[in-house]
Symmetry: C2
Subunit: 272 residues, 2 copies
């Protein structure tokens, strides 16, 4: 299994605090020693830092914690390999282009029989993970359903949630996906999220001796949502997502959510 971390914010925000906690789980407080990666969006552009080395010992991870890159959307992943060798092409997040946007994807879980159950023809994996294969399948489905024109966000993310549930039938599929504007999370079994906004308080990392007083780091208008496999702090209240629940965030706030277990139910909430 792996660990996921993602952020959506209404102002460019650095993720150093959460990243510092997560990186400790890569070979130090956690067993996720088979590489790590993080993708930062700045507008429509994004840049990734990746390393097949354990994050707790990676000089590139050190750079990311020391050089705070401010972003409105971030996806981060640390890996404990269960499908595919430990090498760069198997290191998350994966980024591909569609409809003139960069789409970034990271997966936690494991899928059985995915090669037969999830055929791909247009988007072909580079590496050998179930994760990248499922990403290519998802992009193929979007291509076949919507062609060259990106649909409305509501239509798009409801369709992505439906495809996620199809993939989830094959095992465990906790998914984070972003195009820089929206941040989408699909929960198979383990995902938690928290929205921080005024009045801000203090937070204390579980995995490192680090505390932060967000009051000192923010303005009253800042809204920041963080999603993680497991809560990263022990003095805040995180929302635990239920199985087959999905959440869509934009600029730090919930934009739409639902549950594929009860499709079309009143679980579909806020409008985009």
């Amino acid at each position: 299994m792996c660990e996921l971390l993602a952020m959506s914010a209404n102002v460019p925000t650095d993720i150093v605090f959460s990243f510092t906690g997560l990186m400790q789980r890569g070979g130090n407080t956690g067993p996720h020693k088979d590489g790590w990666g993080v993708t930062f969006y700045e507008g429509k552009g994004c840049r990734s830092f990746k390393d097949p080395m354990p994050s707790a010992q990676s000089p590139i991870a050190k750079l990311v914690t020391e050089y705070p890159i401010k972003s409105e959307s971030v996806i981060c992943h640390i890996r404990q390999a269960n499908s595919g060798a430990v090498c760069l092409e198997n290191t998350h997040p994966f980024t591909r282009q569609m409809w003139g946007r960069n789409w970034t994807y990271a997966h936690n879980g494991q899928l059985a029989g995915y090669k037969d159950a999830l055929p791909v023809s247009v988007h072909i994996p580079v590496g050998s993970t179930d994760s990248e294969h499922a990403f290519c399948y998802l992009l193929d489905q979007l291509h076949f359903e919507f062609g060259s024109k990106q649909p409305s966000s509501e239509t798009l993310y409801k369709f992505i949630a439906k495809v996620s549930s199809t993939i989830n039938e094959l095992g465990v599929f906790n998914l984070i996906l972003s195009d820089g504007d929206y941040l989408f999370a699909y929960c198979s079994n383990n995902l938690h999220w928290i929205t921080r906004k005024a009045p801000f308080g203090e937070a204390k990392l579980i995995d490192a001796e680090v505390e932060v007083d967000f009051k000192q780091e923010t303005t009253d208008k800042d809204i920041v949502t963080v999603i993680a496999t497991q809560p990263l702090t022990n003095n805040e209240s995180w929302h635990k997502m239920t199985s087959r629940e999905w959440q869509l965030f934009k600029l730090g706030e919930s934009a739409l959510s639902g549950s594929e277990a009860c499709a079309g139910s009143p679980n579909d909430t806020a409008e985009i």
Copy 2:
């Protein structure tokens, strides 16, 4: 205008020496202050470091020079913007996937009337540069010509050279392209290359007070080709490419070359 740097080698080799020289041209000895990027291949995987900041002042560029990443194929670019704002999505190199490979592309030059002359329909640019647009056009042409099956390397790169000449009609199109195995260079007006192999000698950078004795850094079996807009050393003999000439390298050695100015002429040399 911008500056290009690329490397093809038969053993994983670090590019720190050449990169150190090039980075000085990004805001220090040269005017290329509008960002920089470098992509390293490790097998089929690749990772990029990018920054819209001038390379001479970039902490990420500093990391790349201090943390030698060994690679068999590298593409690097420093930018002096002439088309498209200075922002991350306009920062080279650009990487996209086709046929289960990562394709990385960087361009030096400027193209006029490219939106009309180079229509795109499948691969849509994320940013607003002529460079990324031309990359999308090239990928579209590959998609239309070869569909879902990658052709032989000889067929593929001769076709890429032909498309490059079409694009070159619109202005200046010095191109570097790689899938990790092959490194392709098309010269519009400014590209130089050098192959270093035993017996290795000393080299002295033009842009920084750095000398290296490659004898100390290599084995007798190492073969490394470096391509750059302008020679980076002043005590070695670089090959200057002619207009419309192209070169294909694999594992540090010339694999195929030709000139679109005299297509099918005896300029087509070594077989792949």
